[in-house]
């Protein structure tokens, strides 16, 4: 073929490589889902606002627990951390705004206050530090030293915990640049439920969250393979995740649908009809305001003030909505560069 032949070709004759968008049916549906989620998160940002930590007095520091507002704040941060891995998301105006607001709130609310005594808040503090490390790359994190001091006391990484719980902590400790005494990933995989997942008809929702979170953190959201462990059957896990995804689709549990779709991405599964159908179902389930409903939605708000009703709805639906952002971020972060 000569240059003349190429320039003489009509655009219709030039073969176009198919664009692969991970699990979503097409670019438009993913974008629509993303914009809806970001719009809703922006409108509800004040409900993610954590407590003003130095104002939380009257409680013994060691007894202060996370609570739902700190949890929501941390989960939003973790999603923004993952979003920062995808170049087009990192520069998205709404993501930049959310990240900036998250950082501002983290500082203004003094979330690392009394870190050395508020040991039950240590895990979310570690997550927060990991988030700041990701969204403020290169910036000094003075709170790291205080958190490392807690870890160096020889109890946080030594108390009795499940392999899942250990991995969750280990993952964010390492992302935050903290050193710890947990076992390596291969040892944790050998102890965890991924070796022999619980029969699905009997598995609880928490059991399924265990499976998904183990996959996320062992693979660092799809950037590395699962550790090699004797006796671990990768094919069995793949088939299990497929069946779990189909089961949660039937149950219309969109929170777990998103987590299991993400698990498939993390395991490197090719985008097949089931994944595409599940992603399309998520897009169809998204409400007009942009949030993703949970299984209890719509909430019973009889007798509540508008503000109370909004808060009740928020705490029902924020998690599947944030998880949807996680999924989109994972899909985009793992997408081959154009």
């Amino acid at each position: 073929m000569t240059l003349l032949d190429i320039t003489a070709s009509s655009p219709d004759e030039i073969p176009v490589a198919p664009e692969i968008y991970g699990v979503f049916p097409d670019h438009e549906s993913r974008s629509c889902l993303l914009e809806g989620v970001l719009s809703w998160l922006g409108m509800r940002l004040e409900l993610f606002d954590p407590p003003q930590e130095e104002a939380v007095t009257g409680e013994v520091p060691e007894t202060i627990v996370q609570g739902r507002r700190r949890k929501a704040f941390g989960e939003l941060g973790a999603a923004l951390r993952l979003a920062s891995r995808a170049p087009s998301l990192r520069t998205h105006p709404r993501i930049r705004l959310l990240a900036a607001e998250w950082k501002r709130l983290a500082r203004e609310r003094n979330i690392f206050f009394d870190a050395r005594r508020r040991i039950q808040l240590f895990p979310p503090m570690a997550v927060a530090l990991a988030v700041l490390t990701a969204i403020e790359p290169g910036e000094d994190q003075p709170d790291r030293l205080r958190l490392q001091t807690v870890l160096d006391r020889g109890f946080m990484d030594r108390v009795e915990r499940s392999a899942w719980h250990k991995l969750d902590l280990k993952y964010y400790f390492e992302a935050a640049g903290l050193t710890h005494g947990f076992e390596g990933d291969a040892a944790l995989l050998a102890q965890c439920s991924l070796m022999a997942p619980p029969a699905l008809p009997w598995a609880s929702t928490m059991d399924l969250y265990g499976v998904t979170h183990l996959i996320f953190h062992f693979t660092d959201f799809g950037t590395r393979p699962l550790p090699a462990v004797a006796g671990f059957d990768r094919d069995t896990l793949d088939r299990y995740v497929v069946l779990a995804l189909a089961m949660c689709l039937a149950e219309r549990d969109f929170d777990l649908v998103a987590e299991l779709l993400m698990s498939r991405l993390c395991l490197g599964a090719p985008a097949d009809p089931l994944s595409r159908t599940a992603a399309a179902a998520l897009c169809a389930a998204q409400q007009a305001e942009g949030f993703m409903p949970d299984r209890t939605w719509p909430a019973d708000v009889a007798g509540l003030t508008p503000a109370e009703a909004m808060e009740k709805e928020f705490f029902g639906v924020y998690h599947p909505t944030v998880v949807t952002l996680f999924l989109i971020a994972c899909d985009m972060a793992l997408e081959p560069a154009a």
């Binding site: 008809p201 949660c248 149950e251 219309r252």
Partner: protein, 284 residues
């Protein structure tokens, strides 16, 4: 048929006979006859044949309309083998009424049972419509309609289907969800539909098979319903156990047999290649 399933059938036949002897009512007779006939079809052993004979000879007359269509047809198929006139009368009634619009929920089953072949003239759903129905929610009419449509299109497994992905996966997922909600009859029905929809193996089929096998109790019946039975007993409902566990046992055993042997289609074995109408000498 594997020895595992045959053994399950033998135990279930003993359960059917005990329930029939224990409760001695017309509804239980019907359910017990259906289960016992299924058991002897799957495992024609002296034990299952004896259980059948005991129920047929010692139980009150069955109330043919007391249970669902599948149970009634199966019981009638069994009774026809002994030339039972009441079974023949029941089937003649079904033949006469089968063209009545809206009378039967499951016309496809009726056609397969009476004629041996698939129902003609039923609208065929597109793959997209089937997927939409399976995603609509398991409690919705759309979902139920899709399940019925799959059974009809396959004539309960006699017409091979090769449904496109992800329909087999969605059926497996729905089956797992139904079992997770402890809706054993729906789970069993979805597993059979999955088997009819595609011949390829699946993790959901293996999971369902294992679940149903493990749900057979020491007494031979399927399903753990102690709490539900105790509740019904407190409410004064008679024969609670028989009313719950005989139909569940029937569904579970039917499904186990079809899952375990992909070539087995119990509809053909129970109703015959030409259907029950031919056996009573009636043109259907």
């Amino acid at each position: 048929m594997s020895r595992l399933i045959q053994a399950a059938a033998v135990r279930a036949s003993g359960y059917a006979a005990r329930m029939a002897a224990q409760t001695r009512d017309a509804r239980t007779t019907l359910n017990a006859l259906a289960l016992a006939h299924l058991c002897r079809t799957i495992a024609p052993t002296p034990a299952t044949l004896q259980a059948w004979s005991k129920i047929a000879s010692e139980s009150p007359n069955p109330d043919w309309l007391a249970s669902d269509l599948l149970t009634g047809l199966t019981a009638a198929a069994g009774m026809l083998e002994t030339g039972d006139a009441r079974a023949a009368d029941y089937l003649r009634l079904l033949v006469d009424l089968r063209q009545t619009d809206g009378l039967f929920d499951d016309t496809a089953l009726l056609e397969v049972a009476l004629t041996g072949g698939p129902a003609l003239g039923l609208p065929r759903r597109s793959d997209a419509a089937i997927i939409d129905g399976l995603l609509a929610g398991m409690e919705t009419p759309d979902f139920a309609a899709v399940l019925t449509a799959l059974e009809a299109a396959s004539a309960f497994g006699q017409v091979p289907l090769s449904m496109v992905d992800p329909i087999p996966d969605l059926l497996e997922g729905a089956a797992a969800a139904a079992l997770r909600a402890y809706d054993l009859p729906l789970g069993a029905r979805l597993l059979r539909a999955r088997r009819y929809a595609s011949p390829r193996p699946g993790a959901g089929l293996e999971t369902g098979l294992a679940f149903l096998l493990s749900s057979q109790a020491e007494d031979g019946g399927f399903g753990d319903y102690d709490t539900a039975i105790a509740t019904l007993n407190v409410e004064g409902q008679a024969d609670a156990e028989a009313r719950i566990r005989l139909p569940v046992s029937f569904q579970a055993l039917w499904t186990l047999a079809e899952l375990e042997d992909p070539a087995l289609r119990l509809a053909r074995r129970v109703f015959g290649a030409d259907g029950l109408a031919a056996r009573i000498g009636v043109a259907a």
